[in-house]
Symmetry: C2
Subunit: 452 residues, 2 copies
């Protein structure tokens, strides 16, 4: 049994065996281990010895371990081994692992690998490489179990024993008619509990949830969550079964979609690349676009300040008061937008809830606005350089800004979704820019009206 | 087969049947459907008819449907049915569904339900209710399959057929010795492909990953992701098998942990309650704490502005220039902190990478800083009311602010993690507050040095 802490110790042992030239023992120990751990071990091996250690793996292990390596190590290995070895690995890789790998490596390597793949698999790989990113087709596997609906349980179990070894899962089996149209699903649990002579079509579940090859992976992830599924069939336009998606792939999809949302919410252009492996230029490119957009939109706040020059000239203290108002308004608005964006992403809030949401945020805005206005009054009173009348005006502006910020923060993401934009861009940075202008307008107008 | 769109149509049909008093037909149609869909239908039924429809469910369906209802509907139902009906539902609920339900309802209801539960189950439920939130114990199920290691495959399959029907999963079976200590794992796939006379201990996987009852759910989710698991055994301090965690529960954990991070990153106190069901007071409480902290920390920026009163008095235009500088700096810093926080959450960045990260962000800061400074110069030049020398100074400050913001944005989350704080709080709002002060210092010092 291994925990993650144990693993580090095991890796240290292996590295010692490697250094001391005890290759036979290393070979024995490595091959007895879990393929995920072996793949992780490759991160620890010095560059010039990776290939050597890879060749210590048994044929059976090599492809499994390969599928769990990061793409840099995969590339290094494939660049150093013979065509024969490449052929063996690609043959052993499941189709979706092969496609994942091929979509990460340079084109010349793809050509070399496809040259070493048999005709049928090559055709399938090409078809998969053509499914759009983020579609069901791009994440499904074709290694699934399908039964003809007329089969008996006994024959089905025989088929499973004969062909099941290579399938991604044998726990959800799909039932098709003679045109390969999906007609039902039967779990292995049901099969082993059923009578040998029963027909598959009589014990199958015919109320099956399915998706189509071009459906979006985010919607699919939501189906998995909603129904607690472990696998989901994928059909083509004629409702013929072409693949399945398993829950372990969905876990990755969920993480990826969450990362994407989080990045959008922080004014970043989402990227699937690992931070440490992304070049400085790419990182800068993903950031500078939104920074420029926000900076230029920020010009409006400068224009507002300039247009109230007269008010500002009346007291230098004023300039020290509005940044905190803008900051608090921005934070208050971001909080509201975050809750709404997230609520919509996990399916708790629908666009039709817009009035309920606004009514809620107005009240939350009142409560927090009054609290913040009150504390702000005390804060400025304690600092002592702000006249009481101005203090009251600023604290009143604080309250109004917070209420407005909450209302705008909750409305913009819902409107974005209604207009088919991604609500995640209506988050902190953009909300702050909008709220900044409103905070300034409220502040200067109040000062002009009540103080001057 | 049902898609989500179909479902709405089916619900409409059912509501019509309900309105028209066609109860026999409604009963037949409902009970043929998927329990998740039936539970979702309860959201559409008028309050006064929910109980009536619930009683149309067959005994077998009632508990299943109940487990998928939201807690408000569950409470409504339990409050209206007889003790006998309660007993039946709780008996049929799997232990973890029962515990989930009980941890959501008021104490008086818990008492009534536990009174209607048999002794053994009551003891187990109480034990589960005592596991800390977010621990392995709180998310595991005790409905798992375990074999004695001396069993033959044939006997194991017989045991599975006899007892498997009530288990959460029969696809991962665990092997224990006579003291119930976990010694291995065997998948149903291996079992059905194995020879009937083989012994379980000879075909089992003995390199099993396991967790302990008090392990944190976030770490467990990471194990699932890393190893592509579908189930994971949970052991007590004596390494005895006490439960398993299945991947469908992990999907919920991942969403919950992501929501928590996203909320923390927006200066919210995380809450597990659904937005639309949370009271205004709770929502306000979760928001006002950080708003107050940030507002009060913002005082420092006012102090800085006040201390440069002399500089500010020299030109009213200055007050229109620094908000945009603060805004851009805050956004630039948030971008960096978001990438680092997320990178650490998904395990792509370790605290030991700190120097690599800082070196990367310094370069990204240079590239974006120069771009933003340059565009800012053109922007102010086009607006036309800023003298060239001041414009150069502001644009230079912009560049310095962005570089500094990136460096601070990437450093603080890593430091937080080193100091065992949650890095997610070192996100946008807090970074902005820190960067605001630095932006002001850079701006005023530059103006003082180069312009005045």
């Amino acid at each position: 049994m291994t925990t993650l802490e144990d693993r580090e110790l095991i890796f240290d042992d292996w590295l010692k065996l490697l250094d001391n030239g005890k290759f036979a023992q290393l070979k024995k120990e490595i091959n007895e281990h879990n393929e995920v751990n072996i793949a992780a071990f490759f991160d620890e091996i010095p560059l010039d010895k990776k290939l050597f250690v890879f060749r210590l793996l048994t044929k059976d292990n090599a492809a499994d371990v390969f599928s769990f390596m990061d793409s840099d190590t995969q590339e290094l290995i494939v660049n150093s081994i013979t065509d024969n070895e490449v052929r063996h690995i690609v043959d052993e890789l499941s189709l979706d692992d092969a496609v994942d790998f091929l979509s990460e490596v340079p084109a010349n390597l793809v050509t070399r690998i496809l040259r070493n793949t048999d005709e049928e698999k090559r055709k399938l790989i090409n078809q998969f490489l053509n499914y759009p990113d983020d579609s069901a087709g791009s994440i499904m596997t074709i290694e699934f179990v399908q039964f003809n609906k007329e089969l008996t349980v006994q024959k089905a179990m025989e088929q499973l024993r004969r062909t099941g070894i290579d399938k991604e899962t044998i726990y959800s089996c799909y039932v098709v008619d003679k045109r390969r149209v999906l007609v039902g699903m039967v779990s292995l649990r049901t099969l082993i509990l059923a009578d040998d002579n029963a027909k598959v079509k009589d014990i199958m579940e015919d109320d099956v949830i399915f998706v189509r090859t071009l459906d979006d992976q985010e919607d699919i992830a939501n189906l998995f969550k909603k129904y607690g599924l472990i696998a989901l069939p994928v059909v083509d336009n004629e409702l013929r079964l072409v693949g399945i998606i398993t829950v372990d792939d969905i876990v990755d999809v969920i993480e990826q979609e969450n990362t994407e949302d989080i990045e959008k919410m922080s004014a970043l252009i989402p990227s699937e690349d690992e931070y440490l492996k992304t070049s400085v230029v790419s990182l800068a490119k993903n950031r500078v676009v939104w920074l420029l957009v926000l900076m230029i939109s920020g010009t409006l706040s400068s224009v507002i300040i300039t247009s109230f020059q007269g008010v500002l000239a009346s007291s230098v203290i004023l300039a020290s008061l509005f940044p905190i108002l803008m900051g608090t308004g921005g934070n208050a608005g971001s909080q509201a937008s975050t809750l709404i964006i997230r609520g919509m992403a996990v399916g708790e809030i629908e666009t039709s809830d817009i009035l309920k949401v606004i009514w809620k945020e107005l009240r939350v805005g009142m409560v927090t606005g009054i609290a913040l206005g009150f504390v702000n009054f005390i804060r400025l009173f304690l600092i002592g350089n702000v006249p009481a009348k101005l203090n009251l005006t600023v604290s009143f502006s604080m309250m109004c800004t917070v209420i407005l910020a909450k209302s705008i923060g909750c409305t913009l993401p819902i409107l974005a979704k209604k207009l088919k934009f991604d609500p995640a861009i209506m988050a902190g940075p953009l909300i702050t820019t909008v709220v900044d202008c409103l905070a300034l307008l409220i502040f200067f107008t109040s000062v002009q009206t009540f103080v001057l």
